[in-house]
């Protein structure tokens, strides 16, 4: 009798996993290893590749997407998804460029561009949280709508921005291009918020089990709405940064960017069904993606093959994270 009673207690007392094992199953570890491998492979391809300035310069091409991907990671951890930020970037950049061309002073045009990003975030938030519609399909709709509106505003022409506004990527802060600085600063800020504050932990709880989170007194609707607003405003900042980098704005600015953003989050080990993931993972994944993309450019790989590689990477990375999580669940 007593033997039967002690049985469960024996099972409970399974030894804790050793620290190295815990570290090994963390998804960021995989990203980090891939990153190191990527740097080695890149170094073999071309000696110029290992030049830190070259990598930083290449990163500016992806910095806008990477900045949005950081916020998108939080949305995905919260159990929702937003596919519209790339279209949001295009529309806010088009609104900004069109206004400044019409004679509105640039600071005002920038502010209106940012405000439009906020409005787009609000529309997503209202449809998803207010009306309880699934976020994937809502943001597919708004993706089409925002890019379509950008096309109406800009037509098929490209709108130039004034000379002095061009070149945010050429401003150096301590030898690092400004977009990269913004990306690193935002990553540190959001990393602290997500990992170290009650607010951040609440996002994980919502993503793990929203009903339970609500019963535990977490204002899930308010938090998720806030996240959609944050994506909206950050996407419009990224859009205007892109305008400054390219020097002109077309409606197809950032076309297909949603793939790269989701890819960065997935490669960093964010779990597509919510509740797991870290900013550090997305941070590393952004660098990994830059290394892979520039590596392919250095190796003279056709842009089309890059499309194939990016698409396959996305699928492989979700299979891998799903696999890792299903193993650690047991």
């Amino acid at each position: 009798m007593s033997a039967i009673e002690t049985q469960p207690a024996v099972q409970d007392a399974a030894p804790a996993r050793p620290r190295w094992q815990v570290l090994l199953v963390r998804p960021e570890t995989m990203t980090f290893v891939l990153l190191v491998l990527g740097i080695f492979a890149g170094g073999l391809l071309s000696p110029f590749f290992l030049d830190i300035n070259y990598i930083l310069k290449s990163f500016t091409l992806y910095a806008e997407f990477a900045i949005v991907a950081l916020v998108l990671t939080m949305v995905i951890i919260g159990g929702e998804i937003d596919l519209s930020p790339a279209a949001n970037m295009a529309l806010s950049a088009c609104i900004f460029a069109w206004l400044q061309q019409a004679g509105v002073p640039i600071p005002v045009a920038v502010l209106i561009g940012l405000a439009s990003g906020l409005v787009m975030g609000t529309i997503n938030g209202l449809m998803v949280i207010g009306l309880q519609l699934p976020s994937i399909i809502v943001t597919i709709g708004t993706l089409t709508l925002y890019r379509g509106l950008a096309q109406i505003i800009a037509g098929d022409k490209s709108i130039r921005v004034p000379e002095w506004f061009i070149g945010v990527d050429r401003i150096m802060v301590a030898g690092i291009p400004l977009p990269v600085v913004i990306f690193i600063a935002l990553a540190i800020g959001l990393g602290v918020v997500l990992g170290g504050t009650i607010f951040g932990r609440q996002i994980y709880q919502i993503g793990t089990n929203e009903v339970a989170a609500r019963h535990a007194g977490i204002r899930s609707a308010r938090i998720k709405f806030g996240l959609f607003l944050l994506v909206g405003i950050v996407a419009s900042i990224a859009g205007i940064m892109t305008a400054s980098r390219l020097g002109s704005v077309r409606y197809d600015l950032g076309l297909g960017g949603e793939l790269q953003m989701v890819l960065m989050a997935m490669l960093g080990g964010t779990y597509i069904f919510g509740g797991r993931g870290t900013i550090l993972g997305t941070f590393l994944a952004a660098w990994l993606l830059v290394i892979v993309s520039t590596g392919m450019i250095v190796a003279n790989v056709l842009p089309a093959v890059q499309l194939v590689v990016l698409g396959s990477l996305l699928i492989v990375s979700i299979i891998a994270t799903n696999f890792i999580y299903s193993r650690t669940q047991r």
Binding site: L259, I272, P303, V305
Partner: protein, 333 residues
Amino acid sequence: MSFLATLFRRREAGIAVMIVLFCLAVGIAKPQFLTLDQMRIILLLTPLIMIGAMGQMMVIVARHVDLSIGSTLGVSAMVSGMLYRFDATWLGFDVPWWTGIPLSIVVGALLGLANGVLIQLFRLPAIIVTLGTLSLYRGLTFIISNAKQIDRQWIPSELKGLSQTSPILGIPWIIFIAFGIAILTYVFLMHTRLGRQVYAIGSNPVAAPLRGINVTQVTLLVFTLSGALAGLAGILYASRWGFVNPSNTGSGFEFQVIAAVVIGGVSINGGVGTVLGTVLGVLLLGCVAAALPLLGIPGTSQAAIYGAVILIALLIDRTVRQQGIASLRRARA
């Protein structure tokens, strides 16, 4: 129950009324909209979307979504285009004009099957997988074509004839093909066991396997069919436009198709949707697309309209669902 509520109940009737009202409104502003010629233009705008929509509808009824069909269309059209272009070099003879039709369908079916395998066997969300394959298949199109367009002279004239010559009433073959596919889809979904199982899976994915439904088999079938229909749309694209371009062909197709399907009353939550509704949704989009140039609205605004249509349809869907729940509660009380 008010007349309007009944109309919303029968979603197909609601869409039909919307089509009539829309055409009348445009017709009052621009009388030339209500001519037979204009009808033909509307019909000619729709066959590709209609064929794609039939596949997408099955996928959405099964509670998935397929974002990759535009790229699937591109790959399948390009494979056939390459065959037409290089048949003499590779095979030493000219292939008959119809070879592209089965070839494109098979290519599309294989790509769709690949989606289905990833989604069903690895338990991945369809939206992310097909977002990945959207990019992957588009890249494939560039690779197999070496980023070159297949020009007009390589597409067999008989194939192009499908969109130009007509068996009856001046309506080209391609439209009969589209409606034929719609009828086949109707028969499949309404009168075969497998078809009913698609609805069962979408209504309740947990209960379906408990009732002995082979969910894996049905899901794979649905994605394969969606791919095959995108493949058929691909070869008809070559027929309709007379060229295959690696970047343009099929790009944005998925949004048009999803817009048509959701406005046709197919619920994004799965389990609900009819072929008739989808056909009407496609026709409504066709009317809108045909009316824009007449009303002097530039073609650049089309994408925005598709986006708005998707969102509006989502709102209608939600209203209908809530009314349904409310009436169930009332019936129980």
